[in-house]
């Protein structure tokens, strides 16, 4: 009964071809077919944001997008941000500001903020809070994440703190 399609996409700058059952969402496809388990599934109904990945420069909840819809797209996951051992500015800022505890919401948070800072390089605190309000964190109380967002933005603008 399974109805599958062969899809081709770019994942973290590398071409990837896989078989996707038509009902499989992008999050499961990335985790199970591409083996990229850094993308986490927290609610599977599009609210918690843990599964956020970047598809063609847009932050997307991978539990709400079918894998077949990503055919031909360019997808960036948490595994695609660091340059070897060198963390991205957002990742580094999360460590500096204790913006993560259990780490489960973290990949989605980092991806949301990464996409947002591309769009708005000079956010204020309220804007960052708004930008991550589609991502739920139960551990941190958000304050460290907000501080991380501000630091990363400053760093990406070329202002070293």
């Amino acid at each position: 009964m399974s109805d599958t399609r062969r899809i081709s996409l770019t994942v973290n700058s590398e071409p990837f071809v896989g078989e996707a059952e038509t009902r499989t969402h992008l999050g499961d496809f990335l985790r199970q077919e591409a083996g990229l388990t850094g993308t986490h599934l927290g609610c599977e109904h599009g609210v918690c944001g843990a599964c956020t990945v970047v598809v063609d420069d847009e932050a997307v909840r991978s539990c709400l997008m079918l894998a077949v819809q990503a055919d031909g797209s360019s997808v960036t996951t948490i595994e695609g941000l660091a340059d070897g051992a060198e963390l991205s500015p957002v990742q580094r800022a999360f460590q500096d500001h204790h913006g993560l505890q259990c780490g489960f919401c973290t990949p989605g948070m980092v991806m949301s903020l990464t996409a947002y800072l591309e769009e708005n390089p000079s956010p204020d605190e309220a804007e960052i809070r708004e930008a991550i309000s589609g991502n739920i964190c139960r551990c941190t109380g958000y304050q460290g994440i907000v501080a991380a967002g501000l630091q990363a933005a400053a760093e990406m603008r070329g202002e070293r703190s």
């Binding site: 009964m1 059952e21 009902r23 499989t24 985790r31 990229l36 388990t37 850094g38 993308t39 986490h40 599934l41 927290g42 609610c43 599977e44 109904h45 609210v47 918690c48 843990a50 996951t77 948490i78 595994e79 941000l81 660091a82 051992a85 963390l87 990742q91 999360f94 460590q95 500096d96 204790h98 993560l100 505890q101 259990c102 780490g103 489960f104 919401c105 973290t106 990949p107 980092v110 309220a126 960052i128 809070r129 708004e130 991550i132 309000s133 991502n135 739920i136 964190c137 139960r138 551990c139 941190t140 109380g141 958000y142 304050q143 460290g144 994440i145 907000v146």
Partner: protein
Amino acid sequence: MTRYVGTNVVRTEDPRLLTGNGRYVDDIVLPDMLHAAFVRADHAHAKINGIDAEFARTMPGVHAVYLLDDLGEPYSGKVLSQPYPSAAFKQDIRAYPLAKDEVCFVGDPIAIVVADSRYLAEDAAALVQVDYEPLPASVDCRTALDADAPIAHVGSPDNHVATLGVAFGDIEDAFGDAPNILSETFLQHRGGCHSMECRGVLAVEDPHDGGLLTVYSSTQAPYLVKATLANYLELDDARVRVIAPDVGGGFGPKGGVYPEEVVVPIAARLLGRPVKWIEDRREHFISLNQQGDQLWSLDVAADDDGKIRGVRGRIINDNGAYTNYGLVLPITSLFPLPGPYAIPAVDITLDSVFTNTPSKSPVRGAGRPNVAYAMERMIEAVARHLNLDTTVVRARNFVRTDQFPYEPGHKTAGGDAVSYDSGDFHACLDKVKELSDYDSFRERQAVARAAGKYLGIGVSSYIEDTGMGPYEGATVRVQPSGNVQVLTGTASQGQGHATVFSQVVADELGVDIENVVFQAADTAQFPLGVGTVASRTVVAASTAIYNASVAVREKAISLAADVLEAAEEDLELVGGSVSVKGSPGASVTLGELATKLRPFNTMVVPKGFEPGLEATSYNVTHGPPTASGSHIAEVEVDIETGEVSMLRYSVAHDCGRMLNPKLVDGQILGGVVHGLGNALFERMHYDESGQPLSVNYGEYFLPLAAEMPPIAIVHHESPSPLNPLGVKGAGEGGTMPAANAIVSAIENALEPFGVIVNDYPVDPERICDLLDEAEANALT
């Protein structure tokens, strides 16, 4: 000498977690692994007349559908083991691993379906037909003991789980001629777990050589899971290994043992293949333990100056459907009384009752936030009645520094006298008043009111008994490489154990933190452990790790004295080497010493030494280090919409000596926001038949970043005299006073209308209702 302890060491865990290299249960893939889904009850209470799983069994990719009888003997006739036996149970009604002939809450597991993928398992689960005969459901704990209440379990005489109490002092005398006696009743609801990672279990049995069952579980308590599982499966402890890999948040409910943790391993054994089950979010809402309702009805007796003479009353505690978490929640709702206050007499009884809702268990703080709320409500009532500032009433009743150790007069469940070891409650209150500009608030409030805005301020104080026993242990072992391996049982759910415990070891053994290899939460690596609950781990485990490190240090120095032919007192351990003071050339590295202590064949063990540069230490805890603090919330209430805006939040916190202040702040911030969620947002709704009405994040609101106030923290360090590092737990204190701080701030904002909130969570609709009631009362 400390190089790391007390400093903001960045977490060693982070690079892994930030790059997608965490390893949670669902990330683990084993060869030939199958996937499970559960069939769960659609009714809160029903008799099962029949189950038809035949069609589901024929579905493509389905390997098995097991009902209770299919699990085989002895399991089909055996309820789950009780991890927390108690003589106080009037009825200890535990679940079968799968429903026998009755379901007792929506979500009660009935069958497990195992298939090639989770998608296929869920397809088949939807096709299992259950013939239910609905029964009346006990839904509201407040009326569950009424004579005409529906009974939660067929065959039970009533819904009574247990009655517990706290009584000390002369309560008759306290109330006898008291000039002020006040009464308050309030319903506390504390919602659910909502760790961002749902539960997950992966089980595999290696049948060779007598068998070894390995279970990966997203749990706070791998040793409790192991003990309960071995007991239930009737396996020797040596045949069961439980591992908690990265766990995406715990918050209490993951400290229990669940039917799925038993059924998935049984399925794996029956099928001879690894079986994985990952809880989905709806299951998290309906089948995971929650904290639920408590109804408190209290009287307080006070003198005219606000000094409290006594508190008496009754609590009704919603136990939910089964008793698989023992009486932990009722117990923790009693012994923290009377909070930070020196109250001479207390007499409070708790009745725990069955309802046809998910079983109840601790959520961040267990019963302690409820106790804190209750005592703060008494303070608020007294202050309001006597027209005193609430901080004055608090300060008048606080235990003073010259009273430590302070024993209120009752005992813990373990039989020890309840005792507060240390703290300075007055200092914390003063500090938070300063931090929040409390003294100038009335002016700000007056200006705002003149502009038609309703600002309010709320104060809340608490204590937290931390570091609960009974024990935790650790092995510290220097490797020939010079690295130091640390093994302990305690599982982390994000608290930063690897970092904090490595700080302790690195300081004690004079090595770089990068040279500490921390491994935990695998029952095959370290033999005994308890679990990460009740803000206990920093006390229980870091003490064991510290003591083991000291023993290793002493052994290293002693051996080095032989090697270097020097007196021990002339040696120092710095930079991973033991050297003769003043003669840096005369030195031996820890790695060299470790190598000498693990010789092969023709070599010898140095005379007078046991092999291995290592030590194992267990820390047995008696008496909890007492953390404490005070919070102040400032809010604005929109009297048209009932919306509460949290403007600022201030915390003064005393958890003794802080090993890593930044991580302590992280615990406080997360805890406060959890408490703010309890105060304003988080409610599990059930209809009168026991159907849950809030089963996704559109219906159940968790705190989001945009709604949270800036939170400022000031620390006060009263080191605990009960352990060598002077530490106290910090995991839950942030949550405890938050609900009262917010509720009191709302009441303060609405003071002109005489609104008393009392119940929480309080949503905009209820604030509007309270304002309407107040208006109606004013007119009559």
